[in-house]
Symmetry: C2
Subunit: 340 residues, 2 copies
DNA sequence: TTGTACGCGTTATCAG
DNA sequence: CTGATAACGCGTACAA
């Protein structure tokens, strides 16, 4: 049995498509009796309008797209992502939208952006390449970036990553550490060179080092790792088995720091006595793990809410501010406290 | 400047819509010169086919829907959900699909299911009400249920919840506990009465109790809580301040157990000495929290993968097995070990 | 090798 | 005031 279409209802009821459509969407424009008859037939036949055809003519899809920085398995291995999704989701539901996760196809965002049937797009954790932005523009899609670079002509939601990074590095140096192992997160090749938050955080870390003693810069070991516990574990193994073993490991996100802590425990290295560990993000696990993780607490949930809020306003055709900077705070916990 | 459509390209190039479409989708059917000319014009004008119109004529949307048991903020507060999404996402990407989260609209799943432009649907953590299933059927949407009741005419992915629950409760009783506080998770009103996994787990818990001493049944305190840390915290407060204070709290999912542990710590109640705590799911946090949480480790990631795998086969029109039962194991950790 | 016509629901525009 | 016609957007079976 084939799908029931509006044409079937029209044919059977003897009215035109227009009248049938009005029966559902604009009851005031047709007679009461006509409407009752049409609704009755539709109910009997179990008519459900094809959502796609509906979206096509209404030019509204009832869903917004979330452009992910990594493939889904990796992205959702980081609960910072879950926090952001929670915030976006709250606004989506309030406005009756669903939320479409658009992962990179073959390491590229282009394909997904070209073919996404969405009312607007939120990017997260990355600044899309110029060609990706161009496609979004060509498609006239409203567009908000979480953790992107301000000034690109689209709204950006973020924190002051540079100051936050400087704050946590300063704290580490206050503990008397001299050899810092820095673990950055890896991005898609597409955005690796320009990832705004990574650039900002690195600058912040360097600022803190520069204010103390420039020589320290030479001891800064930079490693890249996927943003996951496994990634952090491997990075820790590399750093902690090197000849210049660091006395502090500063991770650019909490999940990596969790991996570092896990490796340290397995290897019999005590935190914070043997090595200090810090993260960045303030995910729930940072307060659950032992030792508790010193980190920058940033409002992932609020970021998501604000981003979705701005996007909804853009979708509605309202102009919005182009930069929202939310507060982030240094949270000092056991993983970085030198007790001598 | 309005959108560039295929008609514009046709008009400007002097060819018909068909020819333009073939230039992109079936190059072999037109002349090489014709194709080059059309592609050149399209590139110059920045033509991007409207994804919705494309979906309409191709009857393929390139996305699958995930019907969530709770609103997004609550659902993603539970990292068991993240695990499942990771598994689904891996398969989606492999097949070039995106993933649409369909939350309940005003406590109801119906609206979302009616208007979802997706190739298929995965339900999770709930058994859709009969009317929801009916709509999915009417729409001829392929459909797979994670943690649903087998035998409904659609494939179900799950574990043996009854045996798993019996195993963990037996373990608790082995520790000598006599007053069990049981915390169940709350569902949407729509499915509350029939949630298959809850019914199965309750049965398993009761089986274990029944095998020891029927009198224990009277001491079983059942509480409901939202599946979140906050929910677990509140449930713990109620249970631990009651006159018949339990010597074990058995939670139906890990996030609730995490809340119980958090409350116990704040209230100065020691786990496992004062009260034993167990969870269910085996989320990553269960191994991070201290004391480490005794739980049932179930393969959320694999559940997602299997479900998406079956769904993709259904979308491709292939018949599939209608019940996949994955293994789950009892993992005994510190939170339930009585050391006397 | 290329063009015509159709499917799908909504709505601006027109006819009665 | 009520109801019908036609156009939108794309891919493709079918006709030429």
């Amino acid at each position: 049995m084939a799908r029931i279409t509006i044409n079937d209802i029209a044919r059977i009821s003897g009215y035109s498509k227009t009248t049938v459509s009005f029966a559902f969407n604009d009851p005031g424009r047709i007679g009461e009796a006509t409407r009752a008859k049409i609704l009755g037939i539709a109910r009997d036949l179990g008519y459900i309008p094809d959502p796609v055809a509906r979206n096509l003519s209404m030019k509204r899809h009832g869903t917004i797209g979330l452009l992910l920085p990594d493939d889904i398995p990796l992205a959702f291995d980081n609960s910072y992502m879950a926090q952001i999704v929670r915030g976006i989701g709250e606004v989506c539901e309030r406005d009756g939208h669903s939320l479409t996760l658009i992962p990179p196809i073959r390491e590229s965002l282009l394909e997904g952006v070209r073919s996404a049937a969405v009312d607007g797009i939120i990017t997260i954790g990355l600044e899309p390449g110029p060609d990706t932005v161009e496609i979004i523009r060509h498609r006239h899609l409203p567009f908000v970036a979480i953790d992107g670079r301000p000034g690109g002509g689209f709204p950006v939601i973020g924190i002051d990553d540079r100051s936050a990074a400087e704050a946590i590095m300063s704290h580490v140096l206050d503990q008397g550490c001299t050899t810092i192992g820095l673990v950055a997160f890896a991005d898609l090749a597409e955005v690796r060179s320009t990832s705004h938050v990574r650039v900002q955080r690195l600058e912040g870390y360097r600022n803190a080092l520069g204010k103390r003693d420039h020589a320290l810069l030479d001891d800064l070991v930079v490693t890249q790792a996927p943003a996951s516990v496994a990634g952090g574990r491997e990075a820790a193994q590399r750093l902690l088995s090197s000849s210049t073993r660091p006395d502090a490991i500063v991770a650019m996100c909490d999940v990596i720091a969790l991996g570092v802590l896990a490796y340290a425990e397995e290897a019999g290295i005590t935190v914070p006595q043997d090595v200090i560990v810090t993260g960045f993000d303030g995910i729930p696990e940072s307060d659950i793990v032992r030792p508790r993780l010193t980190t920058i607490s940033q409002p992932g949930y609020l970021k998501g809410r604000h981003a979705a809020d701005l996007l909804m306003r853009l979708v509605a055709g309202v102009a919005v501010e182009d930069h929202v900077e939310l507060p982030a705070t240094l949270v000092v916990r056991t993983s970085s406290r030198r007790t001598r």
